[in-house]
């Protein structure tokens, strides 16, 4: 036990002293901050676009656009998202496109309330005798199509409304018809009629479970890679035999797994603590008052999720950790490890996609079958748990996973023992998969 403790302690302290650990620690909050903050930053940093409308139809089309812009401004005032602030209509400095061209090319500026500004777009509107409308959209920006789509939608609604009015439908009736929408009640047949209604808060555990499954995957993926790199380094430095002079193979293997497990526990605790602190902090802010932070916390800490998550983490980590340690013990360099790593990486990537499918179709045959694959069970079953999978599935997959983990750890121990003393290398593993069991001559 002393050797296991000392090896685990050394491993833990050596990882914590690396840049990789601190980068991993910072990566999750950094990515979350980027995930939330970047769209807001992009939204806020986008410049205001100034455009001009030249209505050659006599003013009716421009009036329709003006009316739509006013409606959008009213909507923006009631906290609804709108593009009204991004696009500001200005009086056209000229009506002829040749005269407008220098403004569109940025050679000349139009006068605005914000001072002289480049003209983003010039929109010519025409209407023929049959009521058909043509929009001529001049702009050097080929990618930002939001304004073009807004104008098109506005005039499309205008044309449809006109047609209805021409056929005797009153504008009030059209507005009334447009506001019609069914009310939807989602009910769970497993409950009594009084309590059958499903609320949006009830979906939170499913979303949280998927989040936890992803988190689990990220943690396992990060730490097993650390484990592999450190193992290869140790093998290359020829420290292993010095270690074997003081401790047994299983003590080294267990100590290493335990040390890295402590590293991942540290990561999880720091991330969890940070998330809880940010969540509690957000609750005090007025703009986040409407967010269901309390429900999210309750869903994360639900014993029905947290205890299986801990169990799946331990088993998943042991399986992948033991495999990556064994791979590391067979290789002298990272290049050597690439060949053996590739199939493992593919295997590890699959649950990432399946977890997303499991969110919508937890009873899909593919998901049910995939959850019986022991290396995927920790992630897929975790995502399935809030949707009440069959008890047979829960018990069966767990038993298969635990049995496989025991087998993998045993096998990894054998490989580690052979690899540590250079009695096996990556070619040995390749040889197992060689077609027809052909052996090298000699």
């Amino acid at each position: 036990m002393r050797a296991i403790y000392l090896i685990a302690r050394r491993e833990y302290l050596s990882y914590v002293a690396t840049w990789g650990f601190w980068l991993s620690l910072a990566s999750m909050p950094m990515f979350m901050a980027l995930g939330f903050g970047l769209p807001i930053l992009i939204e806020n940093s986008q410049p205001v676009r100034y455009y001009a409308v030249i209505d050659e139809s006599g003013g009716a089309l421009e009036a329709a656009i003006t009316a739509q812009a006013e409606t959008a401004t009213d909507a923006a005032a009631s906290d609804a998202p709108a593009s009204a602030d991004k696009y500001i209509r200005v009086h056209p400095p000229a009506t002829d496109i040749e005269a407008l061209r220098p403004f569109l090319l940025g050679e000349q500026k139009v006068e605005t309330d914000d001072g002289p500004q480049p003209l983003f777009a010039a929109i010519y509107l025409r209407q023929d005798a049959t009521g058909g409308v043509e929009i001529e959209y001049w702009s050097t920006n080929l990618t930002d199509g939001e304004l073009r789509a807004d104008i098109r939608r506005t005039l499309s609604e205008y044309m449809q409304l006109n047609r209805l009015i021409e056929n005797g439908v009153s504008p009030e009736l059209v507005a009334e018809a447009g506001a019609l929408a069914p009310t939807v009640r989602e009910l769970n047949p497993e409950r009594s009629v009084d309590t059958a209604e499903v609320t949006s808060a009830e979906r939170l555990p499913i979303i949280v479970a998927i989040g936890v499954a992803f988190g689990l995957w990220i943690v396992i993926f990060s730490v097993v890679n650390m484990l592999l790199t450190a193992m290869i380094e140790e093998k290359g430095n020829k420290v292993l035999e010095m270690m074997l002079a003081s401790s047994r193979h299983h003590e080294i293997l267990t100590g290493k797994l335990l040390g890295v497990a402590l590293v991942s526990t540290t990561l999880l605790l720091v991330w969890g603590g940070l998330a809880a602190t940010v969540g509690l902090g957000l609750q005090q802010l007025p703009f986040a008052a409407g967010l269901p932070l309390g429900e999210i916390m309750a869903a994360v800490l639900d014993p029905g999720l947290i205890f299986p998550a801990i169990g799946y983490f331990i088993i998943g980590y042991l399986m992948y950790g033991a495999i990556f340690l064994a791979i590391g013990s067979l290789c002298e360099t990272l290049q050597d490890a690439q060949t053996l790593m590739s199939p493992m990486m593919l295997i590890m990537m699959v649950p990432l996609f399946l977890v997303m499918v499991a969110a919508d179709s937890p009873d899909s045959p593919i998901i049910v079958i995939a959850s019986w694959v022991p290396l995927w069970t920790p992630f897929i079953m975790l995502a399935r748990l809030p949707q009440d999978p069959a008890l047979f599935d829960i018990i069966g997959t767990t038993l298969v996973m635990v049995a496989t983990a025991a087998g993998v750890i045993w096998g990894a121990g054998v490989m580690f023992r052979m690899g540590a003393l250079n009695q096996a290398n990556q070619d040995t593993v390749k040889g197992w998969f060689r077609l027809g069991g052909k052996r090298k001559p000699g």
């Binding site: 020829k238 035999e241 002079a245």
Partner: protein
């Protein structure tokens, strides 16, 4: 006879169908320096790994301190493996403390002993340096310190002299002697016979996984014929004079007109008898040199006479 610390009895080990060690038996006795000698690939490292329980023999018995080589026995053993390295990113003193603690030394005592041994080895000023900044020779001294830090009663050194310059080889020889004088039992493997010749009370010679000799250095040298090298000037053939004294191993005419002889002395014949024969025969001598046998010669001779191996192969293997 002193207590047996390590005993291998009929031990064999095969890797991928190739025998690394075959039916090997020898004992290491308390307080002795035992040399485990043989060319590269003779099975020395495999045998030492089996002695410590790092590898399990396919057949035969290993006894360490009177029992199976269990993990608990490792605390009484200091093992310097042939494939040795250190944690490059750790500080020197921390590496030493780590290995000392693995051997059951308390942290404060480990630091005290570590600093003392670093001073003893002339490395006191690198205690707080990272291992990666050390030269190869310095790193090897740190490995030796890490092996000896817990003051083991049984020290196993696998090719301890390889990688050391002559000065450090001498220093290591002094350390081995000092530990032995302090009561430690020492087993070391080497393919360089000179070290064993200078240090060992007992030697075990192996070749291709098999033992070819087990005894003292003197006993090993006793197997090698004593020789005399002569250079004579004579107009007559001297073969009838020298033939009764032993086997004439070499006889050739030199470019300067002298004749070169190497005579393997026969049983009961001394070098003085050859000299007397020369004086009695009025033979003009340019050179008379009784040749001292070396362990290398003993090794080659023992292997040849064991009849297990071809001569030219072993001449190539032995260093």
């Amino acid at each position: 006879m002193s207590e047996i610390i390590l005993s291998l009895a009929g031990v064999s080990k095969t890797f991928n169908g190739k025998a690394a060690v075959s039916d090997l038996s020898f004992d290491v006795r308390r307080g002795k320096i035992t040399g485990f000698l043989g060319p590269n690939g003779a099975g020395k490292s495999t045998s030492l790994r089996m002695a410590l329980g790092i590898l399990t023999p396919d057949s035969g018995q290993v006894s360490l301190f009177g029992g199976r080589p269990r993990a608990s026995a490792l605390e009484r053993v200091g093992f310097l493996p042939e494939e040795r390295g250190l944690y490059r990113k750790m500080k020197v003193i921390d590496v030493i403390i780590f290995f000392a603690r693995l051997k059951g030394v308390a942290p404060i005592e480990a630091r005290r002993r570590g600093l003392a041994m670093l001073d003893e080895f002339g490395l006191g000023d690198v205690a707080e340096s990272k291992v990666k900044t050390l030269s190869k020779g310095m790193a090897q001294k740190i490995q030796i310190i890490a092996t000896l830090i817990h003051d083991p009663e049984f020290i196993i050194l696998d090719e301890p002299f390889s990688g050391l310059d002559p000065v450090n080889q001498k220093a290591l020889e002094r350390i081995v002697r000092a530990r032995a004088e302090a009561g430690a039992t020492i087993l070391f493997s080497t393919h360089v016979m000179e070290h064993a010749e200078r240090l060992c009370d007992q030697i075990v010679l192996v070749a291709r996984g098999r033992k070819v000799f087990d005894g003292t250095v003197e006993e090993a040298l006793g197997h090698v014929p004593r020789r005399v090298v002569l250079e004579t000037v004579s107009e007559t053939d001297l073969t009838p004079v020298f033939a009764p004294l032993g086997e004439i191993a070499e006889s050739r005419a030199n470019a300067d007109g002298a004749h070169h002889w190497m005579i393997n002395l026969g049983r009961g014949v001394e070098a003085q008898d050859v000299l007397k024969a020369c004086v009695d025969g009025n033979i003009k001598l340019l050179r008379f040199e009784p040749a001292r046998a070396h362990l290398h010669d003993a090794f080659v001779h023992l292997v040849e006479t064991s009849g297990q191996f071809s001569n030219e192969k072993l001449e190539g293997e032995a260093v």
